[in-house]
């Protein structure tokens, strides 16, 4: 029901149709629900539609958090 994946917009036309790259696969995506999104943005795609634009800063923050969590385990802390 909530199956959705992050992908990077590779093209966008005036009607809101576009394509996005997900790990090397190119997927058709309808961008009409995220009119502010542009080429190069990462979006969350569900059932062929982008439903939200990802926040790069928050993504980096999350990855940093998890790297720290993994490192703490290594130290046996």
């Amino acid at each position: 029901m909530c199956l959705a994946v992050p992908a990077k917009i590779t093209s966008k036309d005036d009607s809101g149709q576009g394509t996005a790259d997900h790990m090397g696969s190119e997927v058709k995506v309808n961008l009409v629900l995220v009119p502010q999104a542009k080429r190069g943005d990462w979006v969350i795609i569900h059932a062929g539609f982008a439903i939200s634009v990802m926040n790069a800063r928050e993504a980096r923050e999350t990855l940093r958090l998890f790297k720290e969590l993994a490192a703490t385990q290594d130290e046996g802390a």
């Binding site: 199956l3 994946v5 997900h22 790990m23 090397g24 696969s25 190119e26 058709k28 795609i45 062929g48």
Partner: protein, 328 residues
């Protein structure tokens, strides 16, 4: 069941029950009951057959003709036999374009040459327009046994080797139908597995090619016949990037996706590293990996377990139903 549903052909439990209940029971033949990929005949011959109804006929990395040769060749290889001769039966739909048929036949010829097999007998039928989907092919194959799969020889500590990445064929065919608005570089892995033959004289205990139902189904069928549990490590299973991507986008599990050029091998514990080295030396085996083992530390006899990438442990069930279109 009174009417045959599509699921009977899916490779899952319904198909197994259909075969056991209707086919095996009708013929009461001890060789048939083995339900191996090929029948091991007295006198050192192996004999197998398969039918091919893939849609579409042509897809990246292959076509129905190439499948029809390699699928049957591989059934012989994993049964311990060097493939020698094939029969070729064609059921053609009225109105089929002549050059499509020529393309398929050229492909069959080329695949047969690569696999070192001769097409020595065959048949052609034509059915009315609408009563067959362009081309259906059946091939039967005969080979000379050089080794023999033997479940009874499998021991704790034996390793499970997968010869390469999962699901490429399945994905290539699905996308070739133009569904899902998805394009990728994936190509079917349709190929002959002849490079596995030398392993039979080096102690290989059992092999199966990973077709309909996928890895999980094939391993489930192995595990349930063993007095030990089988454990697979999820993070050791090789996957190509397109299959990883599509599985997330479409929600399909690669453990259930069919291949047409990959096999699982049960290798003796001491010889597993040598097997791996030999496999990886071949272009078709570069991604071969030891993905698990027959063991006794976790699980109960006959169970198939998966240690997930997250470190959890769960049972792997066989495929029960298939929503996907015809892929082999």
């Amino acid at each position: 069941m009174t009417k045959i549903s599509l699921e009977v052909g899916s490779g899952g439990r319904l198909m197994r029950e259909f075969i056991a209940g209707r086919i095996v029971r009708a013929f009461r033949d001890p060789l048939l009951r083995e339900l191996g990929d090929a029948a091991l005949l007295p006198g050192g011959l192996a004999f197998t057959t398969d039918s091919y109804v893939v849609d579409p006929l042509f897809f990246p990395g292959g076509d129905i003709g190439r499948l029809a040769v390699n699928g049957t060749v591989n059934d012989l290889v994993v049964s311990g036999a060097k493939p020698r001769f094939l029969s070729l039966a064609l059921i053609l739909e009225e109105g089929l374009e002549g050059d499509i048929l020529d393309r398929v036949i050229r492909s069959i010829r080329s695949a047969a040459a690569k696999a070192g097999v001769r097409i020595v007998t065959g048949d052609t039928k034509v059915v009315r327009r609408g009563q067959g989907d362009k081309i259906y092919i059946n091939t039967a194959g005969v080979g000379a046994s050089i080794g023999r799969p033997c479940l009874g020889k499998i021991r704790r500590g034996d390793k499970i080797i997968l010869t390469g990445t999962l699901g490429d064929h399945s994905l290539a065919v699905m996308l070739a139908r133009g569904d899902f608005g998805l394009t990728s570089k994936v190509r079917s892995d349709c190929a002959p597995l002849l490079f596995l033959l030398p392993l039979w004289t080096r102690g290989a205990k059992w092999m199966r090619d990973v077709t309909r139902g996928g890895l999980a189904t094939v391993l489930f069928e192995l595990a349930e016949r063993l007095p030990y549990p089988v454990l697979i490590e999820e993070d050791r299973v090789p996957l190509s990037r397109p299959v990883r991507s599509a599985s997330e986008l479409l929600g399909i599990d690669p453990l259930y996706m069919a291949c047409e050029g990959k096999a699982v091998i049960v290798a003796p514990a001491a010889g597993a590293d040598d097997f791996l080295r030999r496999l990886r030396a071949h272009p078709l085996g570069r991604k071969a990996a030891i993905i698990g083992e027959v063991q006794g530390r976790v699980g109960r006899p006959g169970e198939l377990l998966l240690r997930t990438a997250a470190g959890g442990l769960r049972l792997l069930e066989p495929l029960t139903s298939e929503l996907l279109p015809r892929i082999c």
